[in-house]
Amino acid sequence: MTTTTASGPGSFLSGKPLRAIAAIILLVNGMFPALWILFTSLKTEGELTAKPITWFPHAPTLQNYMQAFSDQPLHLFLFNSFMVALLSTVLTLLVSVLAAYALARLNLKHRGLILAAIIAVSTFPLVTLLVPLFEIMRTLNLLNTWTALVLPYTVLSLPVCTLMLVSFFEGIPRDLENAAMIDGCTRLGALFKVVVPLCAPGVFTAGILAFVNAWDEFLLALSFNSNPQLRTLPVGIQLYQGEFAFPWPVISAALVVGIVPVAVLIVIFQERVVSGLTAGGIKG
């Protein structure tokens, strides 16, 4: 585990009781809503409208989880979300690694302009492009495919990932690549065999960013993939509600099921993610 600086701005708070308070504040702030949803998923619907409101479920039941899987094909939603997110992550990483390399290493005349253009692209919310994008997907016959979502999701994460990778690549001394190339590597080979592994933390961070962006998206998934076999999680969860009814306990159960994969990924990669952001500060 990385050791944190004991001196500096935090150090006058390094007494044990203050650490305990800080820990409580952090945990409550971060986990409270997730925990609340967890508790709600174990309650019955009647308990929700009881007053005063209860925090912990009186008679915890797993009924809602069973209903969550039987009311809707939750496993199918998970599968679709996972595949779409995975594919867009892979594509995003591939495209942004190539683009970031070009921007970081090849001395381009209009580098600043290209960077600005990439940032500018993210100023367009996909919400507003819904109708034209739908027409494009329809013309290309891509409706109700994973591709219809993978392409926009890649574009969604492209600017942030590219920018992040550019600063990482610039932090890697060129000598390392040159050494590899003297040894007989091609330029692109050096990229994938030397630079990317060294930037693994950054790549992981960009990957998680892309994955989470794809996992969360709702509007396009609703419009492009109407086929029940292809629905993703955010769209699927919306289906638990009826025209009038909003069964909170069942929806909470579905939400928990929806958050768990991402949370697991995070716990696995959290070391890399934070050290990834840290390592970006490698100074020559």
Partner: protein, 411 residues
């Protein structure tokens, strides 16, 4: 040798390609909400397939709320997608879809055989643009047991309701008991909230798509609902209450009178309900000197203008909207029939006894404004109702706001 084989192959392919259409069935795709019991409609469609050789119907289920489906269909139809042949539409949508050129007219059906409100709801510019699938309306639900306990009859006017509610809540001394629950959240139902007392004063909001706004009637309507909250008959935070909140609270035994749609009935008699067997339905109260009116709900069948099978789709729609299917759905899916005589039908009342009581309410139903720009009308009215109930605008301000906005929308 090669040339001959190629020629033969080409000939075969050509023959097959000409024969293929004749052998294949016409496939129609019908868009139904997953909320409206597609599995029961499937049975009705199976019967249709049996009656009509050469036609196969597949169901595509869409979003669960009227809003979500509208969003989906709006996107899809804007792009002139031809994959859907028949669409189920919320009763408020046919005008918009027809004006946008998304539905084809369905001629030849006499709309007067249906419940009266449907003729108006489905006619745009003198043409029939959709046919009814099933009906719905807002009812006054009340606690039979509590009314009996205090010797009160179901109220015929809003003033009577207020008095009755006060008597009962004062007598019960239960702080959780609400006199009246209705929808004040800025949902589609809030449009009905506004229109009920407005219509009850004999006023119509639109006339053939043109605005016919009565300012005083509007103020009275908004003031009525606000007074319920102010007098404590309804909750202070009534602006937060959505349709299902009303149902849940009534079902839990915490409400004396409730304004709600037909779906709440079955739930109130269900195993999770605290008031099973204690519920009655009646017509909505009227304004003093006025008539009872309720809001027409339900769904319609439309034919997509981009469908490649116009005739088959129209035939299917006519079938789905027929008395036979309406009866079938009433018995097997508890969907309110669209024909008045079915409410008294022996088989129907055996399956759903309360339909006999429901008829008197459904008869008074009126459709919401039938205009292509309904979404904007709805947005105006529901946000204003919500603002008035939240105390952000006065009824006077609210009425003026609705008037000025509707004037711009419905020129």
């Amino acid at each position: 040798m090669n040339c001959n084989i190629r020629a033969a192959a080409l000939a075969c392919a050509t023959i097959f390609s000409f024969a293929a259409p004749a052998l294949a069935d016409t496939e129609l795709k019908i868009y139904i909400s997953s909320q409206h019991q597609p599995n029961v409609w499937r049975k009705a469609l199976d019967q249709y397939e049996a009656k009509t050789p050469g036609v196969k119907v597949t169901i595509e289920t869409g979003g669960n709320t009227s809003e979500a489906q509208a969003q989906y269909l709006n996107t899809v139809m804007s792009a002139k997608d031809s994959s859907l042949d028949v669409l189920i539409l919320d009763v408020i949508r046919p005008a918009q879809f027809a004006a946008a050129g998304w539905t084809s007219d369905v001629e030849g059906k006499d709309l007067s055989t249906y419940l009266p409100a449907y003729a108006e709801a489905n006619t745009v510019g003198g043409k029939t643009v959709a046919l009814p699938a099933f009906a719905d309306a807002q009812f006054l639900y009340y606690r039979k047991d509590l009314l009996d306990k205090y010797g009160i009859q179901p109220p015929k006017s809003w003033d009577e309701l207020k008095t009755a509610a006060k008597t009962i809540t004062d007598g019960e001394k239960n702080p959780e008991l609400q006199g009246l629950s209705f929808q004040g959240k800025a949902i589609e139902g809030a449009v009905c909230t506004f229109l009920l007392p407005y219509w009850s004063q004999g006023k119509a909001l639109t006339n053939n798509g043109r605005l016919s706004f009565d300012h005083d009637a509007a103020v009275k309507s908004l003031a009525l609902w606000k007074s319920f909250a102010d007098d404590g008959v309804a909750k202070k935070n009534i602006a937060e209450v959505a349709t299902d909140d009303t149902r849940k609270e009534f079902q839990a035994g915490n409400v004396v009178f409730a304004v709600n749609w037909s779906y709440a009935w079955a739930q109130s008699q269900g195993p999770e309900s605290a008031v099973a067997g204690k519920v009655g339905v009646a017509r909505l109260p009227a304004m003093t000197g006025g008539e009872s009116a309720t809001c027409l709900g339900g769904w319609e069948w439309g034919v997509s203008a981009f469908s490649a099978h116009q005739d088959e789709a129209k035939k299917l729609v006519a079938y789905l909207s027929s008395p036979e299917v309406s009866k079938f759905m009433a018995i097997n899916a508890s969907l309110l029939p669209t024909y008045a005589d079915l409410y008294k039908d022996g088989d129907v009342t055996k399956a759903a006894p309360w339909f006999a009581d429901a008829l008197q309410v459904v008869e008074t139903a009126k459709p919401r404004p039938v205009t292509p720009r309904y979404n904007e009308v709805s947005e105006t009215i529901r946000t204003t109702v919500n603002a008035v109930l939240a105390g952000v605008s006065t009824p006077e301000e609210g009425a003026s706001q609705i008037e000025s906005r509707l004037k711009r929308i419905l020129r």
